[in-house]
C-alpha cells in the first residue's frame, strides 16, 4: 500500500505542479462549452439536429473538452515521467502499481474536468435530465481518453509528435462521433467517443441510459485499459520507442 500511495502522490504532483494546468481545469472546459454552443447556432437548418443547435453544441463541447483534456494529461504525464518510471521500475517498484496509480490520477483528472464541464453545460442554460448519469458518462469519456493519451505517450514518447497524433485522433473523433457530419460507415463505431456521445446525449436529454449502448462503451474502456497497460509496461520495462 505505501507503494500505491507514493506512486499516486508522485503522479498527482506531476499534474498539479504547473499552475497553468490547474487554471486549465477551471477555465478551458467552460470556454469550450460556451464556444461550441455559440458556434453551433450557425447551423440552424441542419435537419439531423434534434432540438436546440446551441444545446447540441454544448453537449459535444462538454464531452470533447473533458475527453481531450484528460487525454493530454495522460499523454504529457507518460512522456515526461517515462524515464522516471523506468528507473522506479528498475529500483523495484512494481510496474503494475505504477500503472495503476497513473490510471488512478487519470480518473481524478477526468472527474474534476467532467464536473467543471457539466457545470458549464448547466450554467449555460441547458437542462440536464440526469446529473449523475451525465457525470458518469463524462468521467468515462475522460478516463477513456486518458488511457488513449497514455498509449500514444508510450508509443510516441515525444511531446510534439504525440500531441500531433492525439490532436488528429481527437478531431476526427469530434467531427464524426458527434454526427455533425452524417456518415454511414461502420468505421464511426470504432471512434472512442462514438458510444459516450450517444450515452451523454441520452443522459442530458432523457435522463436515462436504457436502450443506449452502455455495454459497448464499457467494453471499449476495457480494451483501452488493456492496451494502455501493455504499452506502459513495454515503455517502462524496456524503454522502447518508435
Amino acid at each position: 500500500m505505501p507503494d500505491v500511495r507514493i506512486g499516486a502522490a508522485a503522479h498527482a504532483k506531476g499534474v498539479v505542479r504547473q499552475p497553468t494546468t490547474l487554471a486549465m481545469f477551471a477555465v478551458l472546459p467552460p470556454f469550450v462549452v460556451f464556444l461550441y454552443g455559440a458556434a453551433m447556432a450557425s447551423f440552424p437548418d441542419v435537419a439531423f439536429l434534434d432540438g436546440s443547435a446551441s444545446a447540441y453544441g454544448r453537449i459535444g463541447g462538454a464531452l470533447f473538452a473533458t475527453a481531450f483534456l484528460s487525454g493530454l494529461v495522460g499523454l504529457f504525464g507518460t512522456v515526461s515521467a517515462a524515464r522516471a518510471d523506468r528507473y522506479l521500475s528498475f529500483a523495484g517498484f512494481s510496474p503494475v502499481v505504477l500503472f495503476a496509480t497513473r490510471v488512478l490520477v487519470g480518473v481524478g483528472v477526468a472527474a474534476i474536468t467532467a464536473a467543471v464541464s457539466l457545470g458549464a453545460v448547466a450554467a449555460a442554460g441547458t437542462g440536464v435530465a440526469s446529473l449523475p448519469r451525465a457525470y458518469a458518462v463524462l468521467v468515462l469519456a475522460g478516463v477513456l481518453y486518458g488511457l488513449l493519451g497514455l498509449v500514444v505517450g508510450a508509443l510516441v514518447p515525444r511531446e510534439l509528435e504525440g500531441s500531433l497524433v492525439l490532436v488528429f485522433l481527437a478531431d476526427m473523433d469530434s467531427f464524426l462521433s458527434g454526427d455533425v457530419l452524417q456518415v454511414n460507415s461502420d468505421l464511426v463505431n470504432l471512434l472512442p467517443l462514438h458510444y459516450p456521445h450517444a450515452l451523454f446525449t441520452a443522459a442530458v436529454r432523457e435522463g436515462t441510459l436504457a436502450g443506449e449502448p452502455v455495454g459497448p462503451a464499457v467494453a471499449y474502456l476495457g480494451v483501452a485499459g488493456v492496451a494502455a497497460g501493455v504499452a506502459y509496461a513495454a515503455a517502462t520495462g524496456r524503454g522502447w520507442s518508435l
Partner: protein
C-alpha cells in the same frame, strides 16, 4: 543575412533530426483528408460561403475545408512547440549577440516550410477525392492560413505551457473552420469576422467551390497574417530577451 541563414539551418536540422516528425507533418493531414474523403457520403447538402450558396455533395462541399483545417492544425502545433522548445536556446543566442529579430525570421521561415509541407500533403490527397476549382489559389490560401495559425501557435507558446498550448491550438482552428466558417453553417456570429478563418479560410473554401477567386478575402487574409507576424515577433522577441 548569415546569422539568419545559420539560425534557419539549425532549425531545419532540428526538424530533420526527427524523421518521425517530418513524416507526421505529411502523413497526418493526408490520413485525415484521405479517411474523411472515404467515409463522407454523397448526400446532397446546401453549402454556403459569404455571397454564394449552392447544392452540393457533402464530400465536395466539406472536404476542402477539412483539408485546410488539417494543414492549419499541423502548423499551429508546430509553431507552438517550435517556440516553447527554442526559447531557452534563443535566449542564450541573443545574449551571445544574435539579434532576436534574426532568430524570429529563421524560426518563422522554418515554420513556413512545415506549413507548406502540410498544405501540399492535404491538397494532394484532397485532389484524389475532390479537385478544387482553383487548386493553386486553394493551396495559396491554405498556406496563408496555416502560417497564420503557425505564428498564432508561437504566440500561444509564449503565453502558455505545452499542455495548455496544445489544448488551445486544437480548439481554436477547429472552432474557427469547422464550426464558425463551415460551408454547412449559414449564420455565423458577428464576432466571427475577427477570426483568421473568415479571410484566408473563406478564400480557400471559395477557391475549392467556385471558379472566381475571392481576392479580397485572400488579401485580407494576407494582411491578417502580417498583423499576426508582427504580434508574434514582438511577443517572441520579448520572451527571448527576458
Amino acid at each position: 543575412m548569415s546569422g539568419t541563414r545559420t539560425a534557419l539551418a539549425a532549425t531545419v536540422k532540428e526538424f530533420a533530426r526527427t524523421p518521425i516528425l517530418v513524416a507526421l507533418l505529411v502523413v497526418l493531414p493526408a490520413y485525415f483528408v484521405g479517411l474523411l474523403g472515404v467515409v463522407l457520403p454523397d448526400a446532397q447538402v446546401v453549402v454556403s460561403i459569404p455571397g454564394w450558396s449552392a447544392q452540393s455533395a457533402l464530400s465536395e462541399g466539406v472536404l476542402p475545408m477539412l483539408g485546410t483545417l488539417a494543414a492549419v492544425m499541423v502548423a499551429g502545433i508546430a509553431g507552438l512547440f517550435l517556440t516553447v522548445d527554442t526559447l531557452d536556446a534563443d535566449g542564450w543566442l541573443a545574449l551571445s549577440g544574435l539579434p532576436s529579430r534574426t532568430l524570429f525570421v529563421a524560426r518563422a521561415a522554418a515554420l513556413t516550410g512545415a506549413a507548406a509541407l502540410a498544405s501540399v500533403a492535404a491538397t494532394v490527397v484532397l485532389a484524389l477525392h475532390v479537385v478544387p476549382e482553383q487548386p493553386v489559389v486553394f493551396l495559396g490560401a491554405t498556406l496563408v492560413l496555416a502560417v497564420t495559425y503557425g505564428l498564432t501557435g508561437a504566440i500561444v507558446g509564449v503565453v502558455f505551457d505545452r499542455l495548455a498550448g496544445v489544448y488551445v491550438m486544437l480548439f481554436a482552428p477547429a472552432v474557427d473552420l469547422f464550426l464558425l466558417h463551415s460551408p454547412l453553417a449559414t449564420d455565423p456570429p458577428d464576432a466571427a469576422v475577427l477570426s483568421p478563418g473568415r479571410w484566408a479560410g473563406v478564400a480557400a473554401i471559395d477557391a475549392a467551390l467556385t471558379a472566381t477567386p475571392n481576392w479580397s478575402a485572400l488579401g485580407a487574409g494576407v494582411a491578417y497574417l502580417l498583423g499576426v507576424a508582427v504580434v508574434a515577433a514582438v511577443a517572441v522577441g520579448y520572451a527571448v530577451d527576458a
